[in-house]
C-alpha cells in the first residue's frame, strides 16, 4: 500500500485514500485529507462530525448509520454534504480515519 508524507508524519493509505489503521489517525491526517475532499477551511462543525464518528466507532466498532450521525450532531444530511462534499462515507469517515465503507455501494 502506498504511503504519504504530510507535515512530518507518514500515513499508509489504500487506493481510495483511506488510512490503513484507525489508530494511526491524527490531526495531521485531517489536514492532509481535507484538500482531497474539497474542503477549504475546517471549522468546528467539521471537527464535531469527526469527533462523533470516532467516538461512535470506538464504542461500537462500526460507523453510525446516516440517521444516527444526523441525530447526534444535529446536522441534517444536506448540511453534512455542505461540510463534506463527498458525503458522510467517502468524506467524513475517511477524514475521521474510519475503515472504508463496504457493501453494495
Amino acid at each position: 500500500m502506498p504511503t504519504v508524507e504530510f507535515q512530518g508524519k507518514s500515513f499508509t493509505i489504500d487506493e481510495d485514500g483511506f488510512i490503513d489503521d484507525y489508530k494511526n489517525w491524527s490531526q495531521e491526517w485531517v489536514q492532509y485529507v481535507k484538500k482531497e475532499e474539497g474542503i477549504d477551511e475546517l471549522n468546528e462543525e467539521h471537527q464535531n462530525v469527526i469527533k462523533v464518528l470516532r467516538e461512535y466507532y470506538e464504542k461500537n466498532g462500526i460507523a453510525p448509520m446516516v440517521r444516527v450521525l444526523s441525530k447526534v450532531t444535529g446536522f441534517k444530511l444536506k448540511h453534512i454534504y455542505e461540510l463534506f462534499p463527498s458525503g458522510p462515507g467517502k468524506g467524513a469517515c475517511k477524514m475521521a480515519g474510519l475503515p472504508k465503507p463496504t457493501g453494495c455501494v
Binding site: E15, Y81, V105
Partner: protein
Amino acid sequence: MAKHATPMLDQLETGPWPSFVTDIKRQAEFRKKNQEKMNYQIPVDVCEDLLGILELSFKHGRTHWKHGGIVGVFGYGGGVIGRYCDQPEQFPGVAHFHTMRVAQPAGKFYTSSYLRELCDLWDFRGSGITNMHGSTGDIIFLGTTTPQLEEIFFELTHRINQDLGGSGSNLRTPSDCVGQARCEFACYDTQALCHDLTNEYQDELHRPAFPYKFKFKFDGCPNCCVASIARSDMSFIGTWRDDIRVDQKAVAAYIGGELKANAGAHSGRDWGKFDIQKEVIALCPTGCMRYEGGKLEINNRECTRCMHCINVMPRALRIGLERGLSILVGAKAPILDGAQMGTLLVPFISAEPPYSEIKETVIEPVWDWWMEEGKNRERLGELIKRQGFGKLLEVTGFKPDPRMVKEPRSNPYIFWKEEEVEGGWERDINEFRKHHQR
C-alpha cells in the same frame, strides 16, 4: 498482435450469438488505431488488459478485482462503483476500472445523436466499454480512472444535460416498461410516472439517507415487463376496475382463424386450430368467462385481471377504461432472510399527474417509517417481516383489506391492542384468587 494471449476467451468468438469477446477486441483495435487522433485520458490498452485479466480469471476460476472501492463525485454519495484489479503490474490498463452509472430515459428510447455524444465522451475519458443497461436500468460506463470521474460528470451535466444514476443506501435509478409508448395493455403512462418520481426524489437518489437501498419500478399492466413485482421495493403495476372491452366480431375472427392467437407468439410450432374453450375459457383462473352461441361473456366482478385472455386475443379484448395502478411493497433478493416478491399494499390508486396521492399517502409515509425503524442494511421487505404488515398499515393509514392477504393466518398467535380488550392488561392476581383457590 494482441497484448495478451487469450486462448479460452477466443473460444467464445465461435457460435451464433453476438460475442462480447469479439466486440471488446474490436474496441481494443479501434483504440490502438486511433484514427480520430483522440488524446485518450486512460490507458490505450485498457480493453486488452481487461481481456487479459478476464483470461486469467478463466484460468484460475477466481475473480481478480480487489474488495470494494469508494470513489465518487463531489456533492453526491453514489453513482460510481469503484474497482481496482489485484494484478496492477501485469494489467496496468485496468489498475483503476471504475463503473459509472448514468441515468437512462424512461423506456430506454434514444436518438442516435444522443448516443453518439455519450460514446464520444466515453471513448475519450473511459474504456469505451459499456453495459446497455444495468439490471436496475442505468446506462453503465464500464471502466475509467479516478481523476476522470469529475471530468466525465462535468461534461455529462454541462454538455449532455445528463445526470448520474444511483448507488448505495438510497433510492436507486427507477425504471419502467415501455408503457403507452407502444403497448395497448398499458393502464397508465409508466414513463411519465417514472420520470416524475425520478425528478421529484433526486435528493434521495444522489445522497444516501436510507437504512439500505430502495428501488421503484413501473409496470403498465400485470404482465410486468420490467419485473417490478420481483425487483423493486415499491412496485407500481397498472390495472383497471371496470369491464374488459370485448369486440365480438374480432372474437369470431380468432375462432375463424383470421386472427392469430397470442399475436402469433406460438407460430413456431403447430398447436392445432385455435380452440377458445381450451385456450381461454378453461384457462381463466377464476372461471369467470363463457363462450356460448357465438358470444364471449365475462363476469367482470370475478375477474382478477390476470391478462391471460387479453394476451391471447389482443385484437378482441381490451383493458377497461377506468384505469390506475396497484402498489406492492417489499420485493428483494435472498440476502439476508430470504427472497421476497412484492406484497399488495394499495389495491387501486389513481395514476394521474402530479401523482400527489401516490407521493403523499404511499411513498413518503413508507419512507418515514422505514427510515426511522429500519435497521442498518435492512430492506423494506425485511422490516415488514420484522414489525409486521399491520404496522405498515398503521403508518400508512390504509385499512386492512382481504385483498392484502392470499389467505388468513393459520396460527392463533394473534396480538391485540390493549384498548381493544375490555378491562385492559392490568390485572390483580388477588382478584383472580378470590374465585380460584390455589
